[in-house]
């Protein structure tokens, strides 16, 4: 499967996106391995296979913009420019982590970069993003907010409440639904009626169904939605069709009775791998294989450094547990 190559994005930018997608892939791949060997505390949800969406969104964001993420949030964190050292250290529960070890995989956040945090409650990020969009609207500086959520999350009532309110108030908000076809271990088709994208029609919110494994298509869609939002014309719903090629949670084989997804489905989507597809475009655009290999080497170095940083970092002091509840006091 090839990519939509009509877009006017330059090769340099594409290379940058390639680097970011590879970074997500490599960091998450190692996180998966570390989770399976029991090195990581807590559950770990990987977004491998969905990297194009995070990178496309990240490419459309400006300083002062905000995004809220989900339980599957490492890709968003890195796609939006978060520091891999802080990410990995957080997931290792280290004092040097993005949240000082208080958050963990499901709560990685970098407020300084507008990454309002992964969220362990499906749908909750939509509420937070609506608030960020309200801030952006009040500030009148052309900023926007983005709510990532999954196809499973699209059945939570808060999604509809947010469509009504954001349309009513013309909030600068983009609903980015990453439809990977599954909600944990249940196919979303078996718990959902109709098209998610079309749910916005009743609210007069423009929507489109996008090939979420095509970083150019995803970028096109997000950048039009962002332009619309920045111009004060309100929200857009983007349904990004994608697939998680890994499990729902890395530990799942330890507690499930067996496989739950048809192997053909996985095989079919592996053929549409977003990184492979961008790789093909870059090659078509004349980028040498060696240059792309060099990027991967670079990414591996950065990844190794991030893991080394995490492993070398101290665990938090126990007393830190009682801090950060309230601003301006110890507790």
């Amino acid at each position: 499967m090839s990519l939509n190559t009509t877009s006017a994005v330059g090769t340099e930018t594409l290379i940058d996106w390639y680097r970011r997608m590879q970074l997500i892939r490599h960091v998450e791949d190692r996180l998966g391995a570390a989770s399976k060997t029991g090195e990581l505390p807590g559950p770990v949800h990987l977004s491998i296979g969905q990297e194009a969406i995070a990178v496309a969104v990240g490419a459309c964001m400006r300083p002062g913009d905000w995004a809220t993420s989900t339980h599957r949030g490492h890709g968003h964190y890195l796609g939006l420019g978060g520091d891999p050292n802080l990410l990995v250290a957080e997931i290792y529960g280290r004092a040097t982590g993005a949240c000082g070890g208080k958050g963990g995989s499901m709560h990685v956040a970098d407020i300084s970069r507008g990454i309002l945090g992964a969220n362990g409650i499906v749908g909750a990020g939509i509420g937070l993003a609506t608030g960020a969009a309200l801030t952006a609207k009040q500030r009148k500086a052309g900023n926007i907010a983005i709510a990532f959520f999954g196809d499973g999350g699209a059945n939570e009532g808060i999604f509809f409440e947010a469509m009504n309110l954001s349309a009513l108030w013309s909030l600068p908000l983009i609903f980015v639904c990453e439809n990977n076809g599954w909600s944990e271990f249940v196919s979303t088709a078996s718990i959902t009626v109709g098209s998610i994208a079309e749910r916005s029609a009743a609210f007069g919110i423009p929507h489109s169904e996008v090939d979420g494994n095509d970083v150019l298509a995803a970028h096109d869609a997000v950048s039009s939605a962002a332009a619309r939002a920045r111009a004060g014309n309100g929200p857009t719903l983007l349904e990004m069709m994608t697939y998680r090629t890994r499990g729902h949670v890395e530990s799942e084989q330890t507690f499930l009775p067996g496989p739950y997804r048809p192997p053909e489905e996985l095989a079919m989507w592996q053929k549409r791998d977003p990184i492979d597809r961008l790789h093909a475009v870059l090659r078509e655009n004349g980028v040498e294989e060696s240059a792309l290999n060099a990027i991967v080497e670079e990414v591996i170095t950065v990844t190794n450094a991030a893991f080394q940083f995490a492993i070398d970092s101290p665990l938090p002091e126990p007393e830190a547990a009682l801090r950060d509840v309230f601003a301006g006091e110890r507790n």
Partner: protein, 324 residues
């Protein structure tokens, strides 16, 4: 200094704080017309960009409050009745109460959730709950509930200026009482109890509308020569245990009066603290006067039976005098 009702005092605080800081915005259902009159006139003064009537979508609105606070506004969400918190509970309990902590202190969360709570007016079970103990148990929220108009103004201003999520709960029973309210920048710092009446024999700790019952009970006992000290915590989290324990050391006899249900309520919390920390000072068991462990019924005789009454406070105080 002017005499006014609690809702007027709150209204004054909101006017002053919105004028002082343009990041303060307020939204909720019917906040422009204002059912309780506490937010009346704000839209006219500060415009419909800062005072917003909303759809009925509490779950979203509370989440929006959290998101707006984390990104630089100082939002106030008026939820109308405390029971409607339940519709928004995820954003209150999983987001507002935890967000700063989960990010390792990366954000401040200057937000206020406000609502009227409590029974006594035949509003039925779904409009009469007292939910402050649940809010306190979440750990990440500050919780205040004033008993006088002056405290209402001062606590609301402190709540708005605080960089943390504050739940401001107004007792349904207290909106109408008049009281003197200082003009201008009158702040009641969060976390400071107030000794509403001094006494040497028994300490009564009373919350919100219960302060009035406690004061009346104190009058009754004064006639018998019993000096009742009435303490109003005003802030339930963080709780001013120093002021409470100091009084207990003096009197050795304690009654806690709360409108919340008894089990796992604020009265039990205060009783447990006193019994743990002032065991040696106590001359009698700590008595709890609280709502019965049932939903709040509609019909007046039923509701009176369930809620604390002056009589029950008086007899609880008397019971502490007979022991030892």
């Amino acid at each position: 200094m002017a005499r006014m009702r609690m809702t007027q005092a709150i209204n004054q605080a909101l006017h002053e704080e919105m004028a002082r800081d343009e990041r303060v915005i307020l939204f909720g259902e019917d906040v422009r017309i204002s059912i309780f009159a506490d937010t009346r006139g704000l839209a006219e003064e500060f415009g419909s960009d800062r005072v917003l009537d909303t759809p009925l979508s509490e779950a979203l609105l509370a989440g929006m409050t959290v998101g707006a606070a984390a990104t630089g506004l100082r939002p106030i969400f008026h939820l109308m009745f405390g029971n409607f918190f339940y519709t928004a509970w995820d954003a209150i309990a999983n987001q507002a109460a935890k967000f700063r902590y989960m990010t390792g202190g990366q954000v401040t969360m200057p937000l206020v959730f406000m609502a009227v709570f409590g029974g006594g007016r035949s509003q039925g079970a779904q409009h009469s709950d007292t939910m402050h103990s649940m809010l306190v148990n979440l750990g990440g929220l500050k919780v205040v509930t004033p008993a006088t108009p002056a405290d209402a103004k001062g606590l609301m201003k402190a709540a708005i200026r605080d960089d943390n999520p504050v739940v401001f709960l107004q007792s349904a029973g207290r909106g109408g009482d008049l009281g003197e309210v200082p003009d201008g920048d009158w702040i009641v710092p969060l976390g400071q109890a107030d000794v509403k009446r001094q006494g040497e024999d028994v300490t009564v700790i009373a919350i919100g509308a219960m302060v009035r019952l406690a004061m009346r009970a104190a009058d009754v006992l004064a006639k018998d020569g019993v000096g009742v000290e009435v303490i109003d915590p005003r802030t339930l989290r963080p709780l001013d245990t120093d002021t409470i324990l100091r009084s207990v050391r003096k009197t050795g006899r304690v009654v806690v009066v709360d409108e919340g249900r008894l089990s796992c309520g604020m009265a039990s919390e205060i009783a447990a603290i006193v019994a743990e920390h002032e065991f040696e000072s106590l001359k009698a068991p700590v008595r709890r006067v609280a709502a019965a462990d049932v939903p709040i019924p509609f019909s007046p005789p039923l509701e009176r039976e369930v809620l604390p009454s002056e009589d029950r406070v008086v007899s609880a105080i008397r019971s502490t005098l007979t022991k030892r």
